[in-house]
């Protein structure tokens, strides 16, 4: 359960992480492995946040934040997913599944909010165009600061709405949860690693000897798995 006291810091952090995706400073604080861990830490269970973040990070490897394309907004979304997964102090079966599901669903909604913001920035830019054509410093600075502020507000609103909508749903689902941890986490791991593996192969298989690099890494990975 996310209480009112935690809602404010989560919303403020959601604003910063939402802005980091595109506007400022693009330091990848918004990557799921960071954002969900922070969400878990703020909610009281950092380990659950990290676990949620690792799964979301693997899924996010498929979506490159390339220019004009519409891609999921993982920053605020992962914070919400990590916070919901970490909200019970003791990790309950199903908590990570619900956290990851909420993270993906919110990231999808976030992609539409970014699209809307870009359209809004376009409207503002069109209005500022006559002044910018005269070299108005005020017009350039105003447009930039308006865009940055709007993106912060977008991230904050997305985080707040997602927390308000998903918290009761999450509580209900976790109270009814029946599938065992091994089964539910196996599904999560398979989905995440499958999506990440497919995405990496699509992006990088053009390199000479690519399958041997992948295979070499896998042999070492399995070896480490056996010995550790």
């Amino acid at each position: 359960m996310i209480d009112g006291v935690r809602l404010l810091p989560l919303t403020l952090l959601g604003a910063l992480l939402g802005a980091d995706v595109v506007s400022f400073p693009q330091a990848m604080l918004s990557r799921p492995i960071v954002a969900a861990t922070l969400g878990g830490a703020l909610a009281g269970n950092v380990a659950a946040g990290l676990l949620t973040g690792a799964v979301l990070e693997m899924l996010a490897m498929e979506t490159l934040p390339v220019g004009a394309s519409r891609y999921p907004e993982w920053g605020s979304a992962s914070l919400v997913g990590g916070a919901l997964a970490g909200s019970p102090a003791v990790m309950r079966p199903g908590a990570i599944v619900v956290g990851v599901f909420v993270g993906i669903a919110t990231a999808w909604a976030g992609s539409w909010s970014m699209y809307a913001l870009r359209r809004l920035n376009g409207v503002w830019a069109e209005r500022a165009l006559p002044a910018m054509e005269t070299g108005s410093r005020r017009a350039v600075m105003g447009l930039q600061l308006r865009g940055l502020t709007a993106d912060l507000l977008r991230g904050a609103m997305l985080t707040l709405i997602a927390l308000l909508v998903w918290t009761p749903v999450s509580d209900y689902v976790l109270a009814q949860w029946t599938v065992g941890r091994a089964a539910s986490h196996s599904v999560l791991a398979a989905l995440a690693a499958g999506v990440a593996g497919g995405a990496i192969w699509r992006q990088s298989h053009g390199a000479a000897g690519s399958k041997w690099y992948l295979l070499g890494g896998a042999v070492l990975g399995v070896f480490l798995l056996v010995v550790t």
Binding site: S23, M58, S136, T178, W201, G216, G221
Partner: protein
């Protein structure tokens, strides 16, 4: 149009340290007003503005206003490598280069700075750093180690690339295209692709194992022996399927559907 009052030289014109610092700092917000019409254009003007104040006549002079208007027009590039264009454009403006020459440069730089940045950063450096973090996660590093390792590693490359970009642009001016042929930029994506593949093979099995959770007795040994190979086989099958499907079929959307079914099944039982 600005009338050049100084002939272009091989030596960069003087630029105060405060302007250099302001330009560099503002580059972190270059996409602050990103939109489909002008894309990065207003952001380029926003970043270049502190340096343009040093044009003859200062911030109230016609040279400043004309240069700022030019820099606010349409421009597109990778946000980190836009630093190269910003450095070069600031120098060109301070040298008093003719407006058509600056306009041609802006048009010519959009494509190379976009595609090079996408290959080097989004398809190379970012997945590399993500996989290093997942490897640390798979090796049971603590949350703080995983997060700090990722952020420090990624941002060393990120900030270095921006700093190199603006310095190279400033040093070379409108001849900066030759600097994009540097071996690091040309061969970097290839080397990174190999490293990413190796790291994927290494990190993903360990990450799967930690997600399923053997340590801390989260699940029984018997369950573990069934769950891990099953998850690994499913992951390999899913990856092979996604590679064969058209690129528009995205795995994260499929994951959303599968998890919805899992949740509904769990609460309906």
């Amino acid at each position: 149009m600005i009338t050049p009052d100084r002939a272009p030289t091989a030596i960069a014109p003087p630029l105060s340290w405060s302007a250099r610092v302001a330009v560099f700092t503002r580059m972190f917000a270059v996409q602050g007003s990103w939109n489909y019409e002008l894309m990065l254009g207003p952001g380029i003007a926003f970043c270049a503005e502190p340096a343009l104040r040093e044009l003859p006549g200062g911030p109230d002079g016609p040279a400043y206003h004309q240069a700022l208007a030019r820099e606010a027009r349409y421009f597109n590039a990778h946000p980190y490598l836009a630093a190269v264009a910003i450095g070069a454009l600031v120098r060109a403006e301070l040298e008093g280069r003719p407006a058509p020459q600056i306009e041609r440069f802006r048009i010519a730089m959009c494509g190379p700075l976009g595609s090079l940045g996408d290959r080097l950063v989004w398809a190379g450096w970012l997945p590399f750093c993500s996989l290093v973090a997942l490897l640390a996660f798979g090796l049971h590093a603590s949350p703080i180690v995983v997060v700090i390792l990722f952020l420090v590693l990624y941002n060393v490359g990120h900030i270095a690339l921006r700093a190199w970009g603006v310095a190279t642009g400033w040093r070379s001016g409108l001849r900066v295209a030759a600097s994009l042929g540097t071996p690091l930029l040309q061969r970097g994506p290839k080397y990174l692709a190999r490293a990413v593949l190796f790291l994927a093979g290494l990190a993903l099995p360990l990450a799967i194992a930690r997600v399923i959770g053997r340590r801390g007795l989260e699940i029984t040994s018997h369950d573990w022996q069934i769950a891990l190979p099953a998850a690994a086989l499913l992951a390999i099958g899913l990856a092979a399927l996604l590679v064969r499907l058209p690129a528009r079929v995205e795995g994260w959307r499929a994951a959303l559907v599968v998890l919805a079914v899992l949740i509904l099944t769990s609460i309906a039982r």
